[in-house]
Amino acid sequence: VGGRASEEQDAEFVAFVDRRARRHVRAAALLTGDWHAAEDLVQTCLVKLYRAWPRLDSGVDLDAYLRRMLVNTHRSWWRARWRREAPVATIPDRAGEADSQDRHARAAAVRQALQSLPARQRAVLVLRFYEDLPVAEVADLLGCSAGAVKTHTHRGIRRLRQLLDAEAVFGISEEERDGSRL
């Protein structure tokens, strides 16, 4: 490694990290449940991306490439269990609205609720609603059918509703819950 070309590639890589990595850390926090694990996951994938960087041509969608790495790496971590996050069955008490820690408490509560979902459901919700990916792309990323993505979406949302205060969060009445489809 050396020479002008590698320096330019390095500069491009650093610029990409500078511009986009934080966005992926936020998505990773939803997958992993905490910020340290999220940074760990993103950094692990950035090392892989750096290795692959010289082979990537200019037409590659770098965000999509990194996102695929994140999903696959998180899945392999989860399967290996050696970094597995402990699922939580209950949501901790939320701080009062006037509490200065309220924003943190709300965010942590939602992340913990996500952690209580099966990994596949959680990934589907994050990819569909945080990354705004269409069903077909989520299915491709996760290696399953579009129908399975829709099923995971439906079940994931239903479970989130059970864990969180549905009316407050979703603005949907009890009557509407069971019939909703996405």
Partner: protein, 299 residues
């Protein structure tokens, strides 16, 4: 369940997920850890094969030398790229800067002058203010204009400020060391931009200051007009990837570089990132305009 309800639920989940990422920790420099891991992988690959093959005879010193060689080699995002990125990142949010400049000369007689300048800049608003504590003078940067306070002896007709247009290109043909020396005084943001032409950038190790820690890099200015000058320096980059300290030494020499005749040493310390201070142009009645100067671009 109709499509409107579907959209409502989708929107609610999006809101929920955005809320769940609203308490992120202070931003750290992800690249620091990425660099460390790339290095570690490289070391493992280099060390593993010889250590297995020559396990019986390899000495601890030989392995240590191998590790040291790998750690100082290339193969991580280059130090130059890190410094260039830091210079760019620093120019995106407000900050305060303190500059201490010492000019030493051996001719015609040994002398040394030190000056201290404080400043605050807001790159987003393109405003800034510098004040020289020793001379009690101020300069204001507003958009494309710079207003320099005139010393009392040069003021006339109530005109206290000299206005001049900041030109992005006018100084491009000057040698890098002239640009840096000039810009450090006139416009720290553009002085930082000079780091983009830095060459021979090498990581030197840890650096820290009041409330921050990071890495130090040494560099030389890539100067096409190097005759009789040598510009070297160090730049400290914090964990958020911002420049915290820039130290530059410019040695002017004669006799083909053998005899140093003058040295300019500048230390710029950056702090209070996120700082904002409203800076406005002086009253029009107090401003005199500098005459347009002919272009320096060679014909």
């Amino acid at each position: 369940m109709d499509h409107d309800s579907d959209r409502d639920v989708a929107g609610a989940v999006r809101t929920l997920l955005v809320m769940a990422t609203g308490d992120g920790p202070p931003e750290t420099d992800l690249m620091d850890e990425v660099c460390r891991r790339v290095r570690r992988q490289r070391v493992r690959r280099r060390v593993l094969v010889p250590s297995l093959a020559t396990l019986a005879t390899a000495s601890v010193l030989a392995v240590a030398a191998l590790v040291a060689s790998a750690l100082t080699g290339t193969g991580t995002p280059s130090a130059q790229a890190r410094v260039v990125a830091a210079a760019g990142r620093t120019a995106t949010e407000g900050y305060r800067v303190r500059m201490v400049s010492t000019k030493s000369s051996k001719v015609p007689a040994p002398s040394s002058v030190t000056q201290t300048t404080e400043g605050v800049f807001d790159p987003a608003q393109r405003t800034g203010r510098l004040w020289n504590q020793d001379q009690g003078l101020e300069a204001r940067f507003v958009g494309d204009m710079v207003y320099t306070e005139l010393p009392a002896g040069l003021r006339s007709g109530g005109k206290r400020w000299l206005a001049k247009k900041r030109s992005a290109d006018a100084d491009q043909v000057l040698p890098a060391f002239v640009q840096l020396n000039k810009l450090a005084w006139q416009d720290p943001q553009r002085a930082l931009a000079q780091l983009r032409s830095a060459a021979a950038v090498r990581e030197q190790g840890r650096a820290s200051g009041d409330g921050w820690s990071g890495r130090r890099y040494s560099f030389e200015l890539d100067d096409e007009v190097k005759r009789g000058t040598r510009v070297t320096g160090t730049v400290d980059v914090d964990q958020a990837g911002r420049v915290r300290r820039l130290e530059v030494t410019d040695r002017l020499t004669t006799n083909a570089g053998r005899t140093p005749t003058a040295t300019l040493h500048i230390i710029m310390e950056f702090r209070d990132y996120g700082a904002h201070e409203k800076v406005s142009a002086p009253p029009a009645g107090e401003v005199t305009r500098a005459p347009d100067m002919p272009s320096r671009t060679p014909s």
